[in-house]
Symmetry: C4
Subunit: 238 residues, 4 copies
């Protein structure tokens, strides 16, 4: 079944791009029932195959658990699908360059066209405002809902002290945004370094964001990523 | 046919050096007709083989399209070939370290002999001066012409919010300049970091640039790159 | 025997993550005798196999040397096992990003949940306070004891001009802490860069550290790492 | 013949560590005649095999050229062997992190024990003081001699706008110093970043350098590197 194969491939693609390591997950809304989503059982991304995919309802209850261990943070996915009917795919990760932005007051801004969606605004989820003294994990429906509220209508949100979440109307966009959010953060950091404290950085302006973000579907890259992900899945022999 | 094989190998070489990822392209002027150039059909660089190469006239109309999808930004190549009769190869990419320089006022300067050509001056293409509210892509003849005007007689130009273009009298030089423009940007960033805001950086001087840039043909590296690119093409099984 | 296989795999895992290069070592306390520990003979980590593992008492005397060369710094391990009965595994390495923190007054702080243990405090071992004019190596019982005193009850210690040591109640934790101590250092460096000299960085607070550090067992990652390490051991053909 | 095999392996090792790319070279003094040295014919390092090694006298004239193209910068090697009878191996490279130090006034200092030799002082060769308007290449006996004078009795020298040279009493030391000079530069850059402009960095002191540098033979790493280099040579099938 093609959607689940694409989902398993997405785990491999994100791992190959160092967006996820032993942790992080990606999900996709069911194409047969918008009140269901698919995500791997609790497993390191590089080990995920199509057989590891489980189905959940939007409260993140498993449809058919069969004793399999589940990601404790699956509420990130379920609550976003609930709040955002048009979102079909969600990525949660700890990609390196976005962590420093979550921990400082420096806002992410769109430095190149591949990440024009950054210009729509990337809110930062401060879990402490919802609950003090957590282990930072979004492991309850309440925390998942709060994250979905912070995300609002945006394509991505940082999560302070933890990572980020990106969403999209298909896997290509959610995965592409995760990859290019990381790239934008890294490049912006370097621009801040060379511009210095008084220096101006010439980001994409509002009109450029509007002309670019909505049409960017990461289609050409997705063809390559998907092919690589499927090759990794086969090489695995699982 | 050797020129097209070299062109396909160049896609692989640039991808292996992380100069291009799912995006970016390289072209070569036809050796039979200076009013024609070769470039891949719209495809991620790592997938390009000799069979994917298409021929275009200098207005970037396909000679024999046969339904193949074309890069929307092929005007970068066509308009530069029109404006610069001695240029035989063009690379367009989003290599990471040059993006921060395109977005700030810090000019690129030649920090080591491998990138002495930087000392000839690297202009920065501000697409907003030509057209406001674009998606940053050079997808019309008008934008291609404007980029060629900004490039002028130089070996490379930055493209604000987007990437860069490098040119040369053969594939070895256009590819080598793309690789070493990226290297120079990265090293210059680090020198700016350790020199600090008041610090002086000792770049190549005018006489050194003049003695070095014109004779640098990246010949020894090209032999290695070409060999690796051809191996990648074969490993691909295409 | 599973413990030694896990230990050999840990050498490969740490090398694959660039935490150790030609140098660095990992040990595990014997599961049969708490007064003994296992560590490789003196060998570059990427070459270590189960057959290279030697057994030592807590004074770091070999049980059965058979002419094999021993790490001169094995006292790091023996003296920590003596001082910390609950510690079952120790990693010593020169991972890149922690060296700059050992050499400056900037304290490491927990920037993301994967390295929450950093919030328990990471002391810095200044060997000069124990002995002047050393070659920086912890190659005597006296220096090993002094390092164990500096470490105290903490999960890790920096070693100025040299590297770091991480400990844990099993290999997964000692290895995981080595990997994520390096990650935290790199991310904190970047946050310091973008926050600037007056800028505030929002680290995990005390309650978050308390909720997260003790329960983090790196279990999901360890399953992946161990599998990769064993694959590397087999590919080696030794 | 073992020495030439080690030399060919050294090319591969340095390329695998990204110390040399398409450029850079390593040589070894003849074990039969101290007035001779061995170096590859002009070739990208990753392609060098034992069959490509040529013999030169200390004026850098080939003993038996047989039409093979020679490195134009071989005078670096010949003139250093002339000036330093105890030096048995020389590496010349453009490794990335040392370039920014060559271009600024910030002196390299020893930040960790693996690069304790940096504490003996790393002079910076300013070719402009010898000859203005060069292409930066040390391609004459005169420039080679001047570089040897700048190097003096030190283990390494930077070359402004170009790269560096490291020497040693055997290949292990010359190669190891090239690898750890690069590492030290990278780490020192990061320490400068986190220490800030007023911040103090705690480098190895004079007594520590004296205790560490002379005994560091990179022996354990060399065993690994050599093994990897030979494997690469065999995989090459040349």
């Amino acid at each position: 079944m093609s959607l689940l194969e694409d989902l398993a491939a997405s785990y491999r693609v994100l791992a190959a791009h160092d967006i996820i390591d032993g942790y992080g997950h990606v999900s996709v809304r069911s194409d047969r029932d918008p009140k269901r989503y698919f995500i791997s059982r609790s497993l390191a991304p590089e080990l995920v195959t199509e057989d590891d995919i489980m189905e959940f309802d939007l409260d993140s209850n498993p449809i058919d658990q069969r004793g399999r261990e589940m990601y404790r943070e699956r509420y990130i996915h379920g609550e976003i699908y609930k709040a955002r009917p048009e979102v079909m795919a969600v990525v949660h990760n700890h990609s390196p360059s976005i962590i420093p932005f979550g921990a400082t007051a420096a806002p992410l801004k769109p430095i190149f066209h591949m990440a024009a969606f950054v210009g729509e605004g990337i809110p930062n989820f401060e879990i402490r405002k919802v609950q003090k003294g957590t282990n930072l994990l979004v492991e309850t429906p309440k925390l998942g809902k709060a994250l979905a509220v912070t995300l609002g209508k945006k394509p991505a949100a940082l999560m302070r002290g933890h990572g980020s979440v990106t969403v999209g109307q298909d896997l290509a966009r959610a995965v592409g945004r995760a990859i290019y959010l990381e790239a934008n953060a890294k490049l912006q950091m370097q621009a801040m370094l060379i511009a210095g404290s008084r220096g101006k950085i010439n980001f994409l302006d509002t009109a450029e964001v509007k002309a670019s973000a909505p049409v960017q579907n990461y289609g050409r890259a997705w063809n390559l990523w998907r092919r690589k992900g499927l090759a990794l899945l086969k090489g695995d022999g699982s």
